[in-house]
């Protein structure tokens, strides 16, 4: 159903993961995950080590935040994120690279999985692991389905359907065994369900590497499934449909159809948290862009809290033709207005787009070609939702399922009249979701 086929532009696919040098100072955001911001537990002047807890969850849906560096806490206060909105950040001046005791920094693969399910969940939670596929939903919540719900299938998302992004591709090539052990850990937590690793067909090397690692490790109930190249193949709901041929009903959760979807990056983070005691303080991001020379294309292992401008500097500076810089992919990423913002757990790319590629054309008139409806992976009718949004018909919007929109951007991408469909639909989706929520609260 639906979907679009943008040029996949995986320009940095050949670039090995490099480790970024440490900057003189990092700013760690307290809002790195979906849900309530974390609460700082350090004070100005404290000396912290790498991996030390610096903030505790601010609610049930929240996560621990750990220090990515060793050094002195310089300040705790509001700082602008990449959209220019203030978030609480902890500023740490880097001094050396002293890690917490108990963190295993070797490359040795640890295959033996702890027996106790609760212990694993605790380690995942204490490690501050969140979903790295985009939503940054706390992993321990997702891996602990409510009573009565049984997970039948753990889907490992290795589709990386966004153009340009190659970080998942690289970790599947370079650390497939760790990813699979992570998956096995999650299988155990979920009560021994099967596991399917979904990878798009445009990544044959990753498919081969994962298959080789799988046969080497010999995990039962685990398989690699090749998926068609299509955006958004890696959307949670689309992936469940592709792998299990089941659809999550509107307003429901994947667990309702027995599915749990986790990104390959999350699986790696789970492995490191459980087997190596290493909390989620590093991740891989791609620095890439159209017309950017190969020397400026990179896949970096970064630590959270690094200023984006610092990474851009290390990667060779902002290319001349970059008119827009995006954190994430070109379809769902966020345009950066503040380069002094810092990396967070879920940062997946710094993407430069040229003016040609990215500047929006002047919007014309809808000719009712229906391309948006064909492209919508949720089977919605964006042209209709757009029209209803413009006249603020919230009842009509709810009836036409605006709340099901996954904001993938296929409608705006495909509109030949360049009508900003998603911009408006996103607004009304928020309003309708608010109405539904308040109605449920009343009930």
């Amino acid at each position: 159903m639906g979907g679009v086929h943008p040029n996949d532009s995986k320009l940095a696919r050949e670039c090995r993961i490099e480790t970024l040098p440490l900057p003189p100072v990092v700013y760690v955001s307290m809002a790195q995950h979906l849900g309530a911001p974390a609460k700082p537990v350090v004070t100005v002047g404290d000396f912290v080590k790498v991996g030390q807890v610096i903030a505790e969850p601010g609610g049930f849906i929240s996560a621990y935040v750990h220090s990515p560096v060793s050094g002195t806490v310089k300040s705790i206060g509001p700082r602008k994120d990449l959209a220019g909105n203030f978030q609480t950040h902890v500023e740490i001046a880097v001094e050396g690279d002293v890690w917490m005791d108990g963190i295993d920094r070797s490359d040795k693969l640890v295959k033996e999985i702890p027996e106790d399910r609760e212990e694993i969940l605790k380690k995942i939670q204490m490690g501050g692991v969140v979903g790295l596929g985009g939503a940054t939903f706390p992993a321990h919540v997702k891996l602990n389905p409510p009573a009565g719900k049984v997970a039948e299938c753990l889907i490992l998302n290795g589709t990386e359907c966004e153009p340009f992004l190659t970080s998942d591709h690289r970790i599947m090539l370079e650390r497939p065994r760790e990813i699979l052990v992570g998956a096995a850990i999650m299988q155990k937590v979920l009560g021994g369900c099967r596991c399917v690793v979904g990878i798009e067909e445009n990544k044959p090397e990753a498919i081969a590497a994962m298959r080789a690692a799988l046969s080497e490790l010999g995990f039962p109930d685990m398989s690699v499934q090749v998926l068609k190249k299509k955006y958004p193949q890696g959307g949670e709901k689309q992936l469940i449909d592709a792998v299990m041929h089941r659809q999550v009903r509107s307003g429901g959760l994947p667990i309702d159809v027995g599915a749990v979807v986790q990104n390959v990056g999350t699986s790696l983070a789970v492995y490191e948290a459980v087997q190596k005691n290493k909390p989620l303080i590093t991740n891989v991001l791609t620095v890439t862009g159209d017309d950017v020379p190969v020397s400026m294309q990179h896949n970096y292992l970064f630590r959270i809290g690094m200023p984006l401008s610092y990474i851009i500097g290390v990667a060779g500076g902002r290319p001349q033709q970059a008119a827009k810089i995006i954190s994430g992919g070109p379809m769902m990423g966020k345009a950066i207005s503040n380069l002094e913002a810092t990396t967070v757990k879920g940062t997946s790319a710094i993407l430069y787009l040229s003016e040609d590629q990215t500047r929006r054309q002047e919007a014309g008139y809808c000719i009712r070609c229906g391309r948006c409806a064909d492209a919508c992976p949720m089977g919605l009718e964006p042209f209709l939702l757009y029209r209803l949004t413009r006249v603020a018909d919230l009842d009509g919007l709810e009836k036409n399922a605006v709340q099901d929109c996954i904001e993938c951007g296929c409608c705006l991408y495909s509109c030949p009249a360049n009508i900003p469909l998603l911009d408006y639909i996103r607004q009304s989706k928020g309003q309708v979701l608010g109405i539904i929520r308040s109605r449920n609260v009343k009930k």
Binding site: M1, V4, P6, P163, K237, D241, Q247, V248, R249, S250, G252, Q321, A322, A323, K324, I325, I326, P330, M331, M332, G333, K334, A335, I336, S337, L353, E355, T358, R360, Q361, E362, G364, Y365, C366, I367, R368, C369, G370, R371, A373, P377, M378, G379, L380, E381, F383, A401, D404, E407, G409, C410, L412, Y413, S414, P416, A417, N418, P420, L422, D423
Partner: protein
């Protein structure tokens, strides 16, 4: 670029614009246009030029001076309307009739509803029907001047369907029921009726370029073939057969290029199928039982009225909703 651009996602766009779609439609019409010029000569070329130029000009004048909103002017879409209108006119049409047709099509049918995307009826067909009613004599005079290609057949001055409408099956058989000719060029008719092959080649181009989907034309063809097949089998001496009906009277042009107009056709697949079936039914009723020989234009216009209803009734299947 000193200042960075910031916008909501997505940040890239498919390389497809309204203009490029319209240009594709114009390209798709070219084979039929070339054949008709070869066949009807300079007079055909002039009528095409007059129609296209006047449609574009009228739309520009209305957008600029009447609405004072220059952005309402879409030259490519107006050119498509002009081209389709001209292909519906006999090559002998006086130029001023084409101008009046363009004025009606663009001014009344399209712009008075608000311009591109807002019109209820297909402008080219509405313009053609308007001319047919206003100037019945000129609009059914198929005595064309000889073109660049001379055929052995004398140009008779009536279309096959016209012959059938006047004299029934006997008159048609007196002509030798010349079906084979209409595959490549009709013995008479407008530019859009001349060559079914050329039109189908153009339509194939549209399908390859994913400009239109085949469901509407297929459902029209299917319905027409089914109905005429039943009637023909029941009484071959009174009713014309499927092949005849599919190849004459602007059936191909109407189905492939006019009924598939985005604005005036349903958006969903099933809506489109119903729309096509409706057109097929109406066109066959007119041809068999009406006093008017052809009927494609009327059928499309009548079904145009149902498009808003069909759009309301048929939605595409949503994910995760029964």
């Amino acid at each position: 670029m000193e200042k960075m651009l910031v916008s909501p996602s997505p940040h890239i766009h498919a390389k497809r614009s309204t203009t490029s779609i319209m240009v594709d439609v114009i390209i798709a019409l070219m084979p039929a246009v070339i054949v008709s010029i070869l066949f009807y000569g300079w007079s055909e070329l002039m009528i095409l030029a007059v129609s296209v130029v006047s449609c574009v000009l009228i739309e520009w004048l209305i957008a600029k001076f009447l609405f004072k909103r220059a952005e309402l002017f879409t030259p490519s879409a107006a050119a498509v309307t002009g081209l389709l209108l001209a292909m519906n006119l006999p090559s002998t049409t006086p130029w001023w009739i084409a101008v009046i047709g363009a004025l009606f099509a663009i001014g009344v049918v399209k712009m008075s509803f608000g311009g591109l995307g807002q019109n209820l009826f297909n402008p080219a067909i509405a313009g053609r029907v308007f001319l047919l009613i206003s100037f019945p004599q000129q609009m059914t005079d198929w005595t064309a001047a000889p073109g660049f290609i001379h055929t052995t057949d004398a140009i008779s001055g009536a279309t096959l369907l016209g012959v059938y409408g006047e004299g029934g099956m006997e008159a048609l058989q007196a002509l030798g029921y010349p079906l084979d000719t209409s595959l490549f060029f009709d013995i008479g008719g407008s530019a859009g009726e001349i060559s079914s092959i050329a039109l189908l080649v153009g339509f194939a181009y549209l399908l390859i370029r994913k400009v239109v989907k085949p469901w509407i034309p297929l459902s029209i063809f299917g319905t027409v073939a089914l109905i005429s097949g039943i009637f023909y089998l029941a009484d071959p001496m009174t009713f014309t057969g499927p092949a005849f009906n599919l190849l004459t009277g602007g059936m191909i042009l109407g189905s492939c290029f006019m009924a598939t107009d985005y604005v005036t056709s349903p958006m969903s697949t099933w809506g489109g199928v119903i729309f096509g079936v409706g057109i097929g039914l109406i066109v066959m009723m007119i041809r068999y039982f009406g006093s008017y020989p052809e009927g494609m234009s009327f059928a499309i216009l009548i079904m145009n009225c149902f498009v808003p209803l069909l759009n309301m009734a048929f939605h595409q299947k949503k994910y995760g909703r029964a």
